[in-house]
């Protein structure tokens, strides 16, 4: 049964409603490779499949249907989640078909992608989902054979008795699905894992690599219109709109002003791009209209302000600094950044009376529904949300601004509408990584021991720009962490590894400064601080001392830390989102010029569920952290970013990435997320290596725009 019938155009996104619901896209690749196997279509499998739980259905044909509830934006949860279910089920992976589940609060909780939280949240739930079904299949087999289920064994989608195959899962599905699920099931010993920990291929490869419709921007519905929206600069409102030229663009059917937006409407995209350029919209101030020089001044004033919020205070800081043999003080600053996912924002909405259909790329489908419900006064139960694949997110798609504006426009037009953003809309449309400036101060005694530590964060819409209970808190007797915030009309939002994406760089660079001032090796300094936190913990400690020590020692060992006099190294370690990552950047001097060759990373994320996906997240996080630390800037002029596309907003490219070597510490803990934790340490590792190689300390990002960097001809080469 299809909600969306294929249109007169070919190969558009198909949305299937089955007994269990679910958005499915494209077809099945690995099954097609096996000529012997009878390959059913997804429709056929879904129409037969019997539910075992919210995550799992099994078809009598033997095909295993696994639903992935969380939005997929490249973290490959759509492969790793089903791997966990299939593992405990003892499924034959080649018979597994994966579907993106739509928003369903009854079946799933925490159906969002953010905070690297999906894996720790769902690990046990998914294992239980698989193990329960396996138990039921074994019970059904036992009943048929008249033996205890204990005498039977499940392996790769089949049931065995004394080593002899008795059933395939599909043959038992109907009986097993009728049995009552047990209250408790036993889970596998991780050493028996057969699917978890193996490099299973991304289940969506074929669709991605053959250009099938997968993404929000690919959504097409018969009768829908396209729209683009001109949004105001920050701190401004519309004074007047002259839309006569825009209306005259062939293909434009309507221009609608709502709230502070001007929407151009038509049946295809190009006329809208042209018409938007033809809009004459005059704006007037509606609050503070800020530029970057305002922000620079405001942040410096906040660092000197007498009033700041105390986030944490240990010991007697004033006395420690008074008695210090040496005080080190340093300030670090980062600019606003756009998330810039490759797929610009977009959403489909159809408000039809008191019902709403929403389809598109969102990290938070529940928030999309809630905000739409609030805006339109339509009950949540009447709103469906289908989640397409996301062409990147990085936190931008945690918001619902791009959803509710589509819903509002659909209501105004009384039509189904897909609102698409141009790249320029995406970059000027807000929700940025906030700009922050930090002041660090350290008090050292005559032996170079850190007896006092102060951090004050001053951010523009940054909320708490510190992480007051993170390292080095707990290892210093006298410590003061403060925060102060400026409220601006420029909107900000979580950006991959919120706050820590810059705080880690600043803190790890500052600790490098402390190590040099104390005449200590940077690795030894960190280990010494951890020893002190272990022996005499000061206040609350939110990190695991031994796990942090584990990644520090592994990164030092694998990078041959300090062993080659020709390699200038920079060290950095950070704990965020429950995972630990240490990194070493290697710079080699060639012909008197520094060449950044390699970054070595040691990660403790507990059990590595999907090694390919984990490597992707570690490498990708490092490339992301490096690119933005080195190259990317966003500056404001009169409430608008000056950088509006990739010609001026510089993202890292292939020739700018060094070799990245990835290691894991096998700590045996349950898995934690990796979407974010590899990013925070990177900027610090590189900045510290640049200091080691050139004596230049980079205290602001992006590095290439700092005067300290101007005469450094840093090359980046993998070989």
């Amino acid at each position: 049964m299809e909600k969306l019938i294929k249109t007169n155009r070919r190969d558009f996104l198909k949305v299937a409603a089955t007994a269990t619901g679910g958005l499915f896209i494209g077809f099945y690749w690995s099954g097609c490779d096996s000529p012997k196997m009878q390959v059913l279509t997804d429709d056929e499998v879904l129409s037969q499949a019997l539910d075992f739980n919210a995550f799992l259905s099994i078809s009598p044909s033997g095909d295993i249907v696994i639903y992935s509830p969380n939005p997929e934006l490249g973290q490959n949860i759509i492969t790793s989640f089903p791997m966990i279910v299939a593992e405990e089920l003892d499924a034959d992976w080649s018979r597994v078909r994966v579907f993106q589940a739509p928003l369903d609060n009854d079946k799933y909780d925490r159906q969002l992608t953010g905070g690297s939280g999906a894996m720790p949240h769902s690990w046990e739930r998914l294992r239980k989902a698989g193990a329960t079904a396996r138990y039921l299949l074994l019970s059904a087999a036992g009943e048929k054979l008249g033996v205890s289920a204990n005498e039977l064994e499940a392996k790769e989608g089949k049931i065995y008795q004394n080593g002899k195959q008795k059933f395939e899962f599909g043959e038992l599905a109907a009986d097993a699905a009728k049995l009552n699920a047990p209250d408790d099931v036993s889970l596998k010993d991780p050493k028996d894992f057969k699917i978890i920990g193996t490099p299973v291929k991304n289940v969506k490869n074929r669709e991605m690599f053959t250009g099938q419709p997968l993404y929000g921007l690919d959504v097409y519905r018969e009768g829908m219109v396209n729209a683009m929206i001109q949004r105001p600069p920050f701190g401004m409102k519309i004074k007047s709109v002259d839309d006569s030229a825009a209306r005259s663009v062939p293909g434009v059917t309507d221009v609608v002003v709502f709230k502070n937006n001007v929407a151009v409407v038509g049946n295809s995209t190009w006329p809208l791009i042209k018409a938007k350029r033809q809009l004459r919209v005059e704006y007037e101030p509606d609050g503070a209209v800020e530029s970057s020089f305002d922000h620079d001044r405001i942040m410096k004033e906040m660092l000197d302000s007498k009033s700041a919020q105390v986030m944490r205070k240990d010991g007697d800081v004033e006395n420690a600094f008074k008695n210090a043999a040496q005080v080190i003080s340093s300030e670090y600053q980062c600019p606003f950044l756009s998330h810039s996912p490759m797929e610009p924002q977009n959403f489909f909405a159809h408000v039809n009376g008191d019902k709403v259909e929403l389809i598109g790329p969102t990290q938070t489908p529940d928030r999309a529904r809630m905000e739409t419900s609030q805006l339109l006064g339509i009950p949540k139960e009447n709103i469906t949300v289908d989640i397409t694949r996301l062409g990147g997110g990085f936190g931008r798609r945690l918001r619902a601004d791009f959803v509710v504006e589509a819903a509002e426009l659909s209501k105004i037009l009384d039509k189904p509408v897909k609102v698409s953003w141009t790249r320029e809309d995406d970059m000027t449309g807000g929700a940025y990584r906030p700009a922050v400036r930090y002041r660090f101060q350290a008090a050292l005694d005559e032996n170079g021991n850190m007896i006092g530590y102060k951090l004050r964060g001053a951010g523009i819409n940054a909320g708490n720009s510190t992480r007051e209970n993170n390292f080095p808190s707990g290892s210093v007797d006298n410590l003061l962490i403060e925060n102060i915030e400026h409220r601006s009309p420029i909107t900000t939002n979580a950006w991959r590894a919120p706050i820590t994406n810059f705080l880690a760089y600043a803190e790890q660079s500052f600790l490098d400064e402390v190590a040099i001032a104390a005449k200590k090796d940077p690795v030894a300094l960190r280990l010494e601080l951890l020893d002190r936190a272990k022996k005499n913990p000061v206040g609350e400690i939110h990190y695991d001392i031994e796990r942090m020590r584990g990644v520090i020692e592994t990164a030092a060992e694998k990078s041959n830390w300090g062993k080659s006099k020709d390699t200038m190294q920079g060290f950095s370690v950070y704990f965020s989102h429950r995972s630990y990552v240490a990194q070493v950047a290697d710079i080699v001097m060639e012909g008197g010029q520094p060449v950044l060759k390699k970054i070595t990373a040691a990660t403790d994320c507990g059990i590595v569920v999907h090694p390919t996906g984990a490597n992707h997240q570690v490498r990708g996080g490092i490339v992301d952290g490096m690119g933005h630390a080195m190259f990317t800037n966003m500056t404001f002029e009169n409430g608008l970013p000056k950088q509006r596309n990739f010609d001026s907003y510089r993202l890292i490219r292939m020739k700018e990435v060094p070799e990245i070597e990835v290691h894991y510490v096998d700590s045996g803990y349950d898995p934690t997320g990796l979407g974010e934790p590899a990013l925070p340490p990177t900027g610090g590792a590189i900045a510290n290596a640049i200091f080691a190689a050139t004596g230049r300390r980079l205290r602001s990002q992006p590095f290439i725009e700092q005067k300290e960097f101007s005469d450094i001809k840093l090359q980046i080469r993998r070989t």
């Binding site: 558009f12 690599f209 250009g211 490759m342 992301d624 890292i652």
Partner: protein
């Protein structure tokens, strides 16, 4: 509006659009070939790459009126069964994260390898530097292009 007859993936298509419409939007909006992606619109990122007479080209800035009788190949037409050596290498190496840029990457790699079947790693990097990947899959892309060169 003007009528154009386009040769795309071995078939002929008639479209009636404004002359300045970029090929990208003709493919996506008028022909339903949505594998070619929009991302920057100014020929900076390569998500929109197609082949024009075998050359990797940015379709987002190419007016339909300038296509003429040139042969256009999109990701949908690169191979019949998704088994072009570059597509196979992309699967083997498991290149993608979000995947949005990968069709453009594949099209660029396929055109490059046709001209330079035995490239050095440096040549691969130079060729692929035209395409942005926001997820940072560059290591995997380089590996996959090198592997595809061997598969051929």
């Amino acid at each position: 509006m003007a009528k154009f007859n386009l040769k795309i993936n071995g078939s002929n298509y008639d479209v009636d659009v404004e002359e300045d419409t970029p090929l990208l939007w003709v493919l996506r909006d008028h022909l339903g070939l949505v594998g070619t992606k929009y991302s920057c619109g100014i020929a900076q990122c390569g998500a929109c790459m197609v082949h024009i007479n075998g050359e990797a080209s940015y379709s987002c800035t190419l007016p339909v009126s300038s296509v003429g009788s040139d042969e256009v190949t999109t990701i949908e037409g690169l191979s019949k069964d998704g088994d072009h050596p570059v597509q196979k290498a992309w699967e083997d190496v498991d290149v993608a994260q979000c995947g949005y840029c990968q069709a453009g990457q594949i099209m660029n790699a396929a055109a490059f390898l046709k001209k330079n079947p035995k490239p050095t790693l440096e040549e691969i990097e130079n060729a692929m530097n035209r395409n942005l990947c926001r997820c940072g899959t560059y290591h995997k892309i380089r590996e996959a292009v090198a592997q595809a060169a061997k598969l051929k």
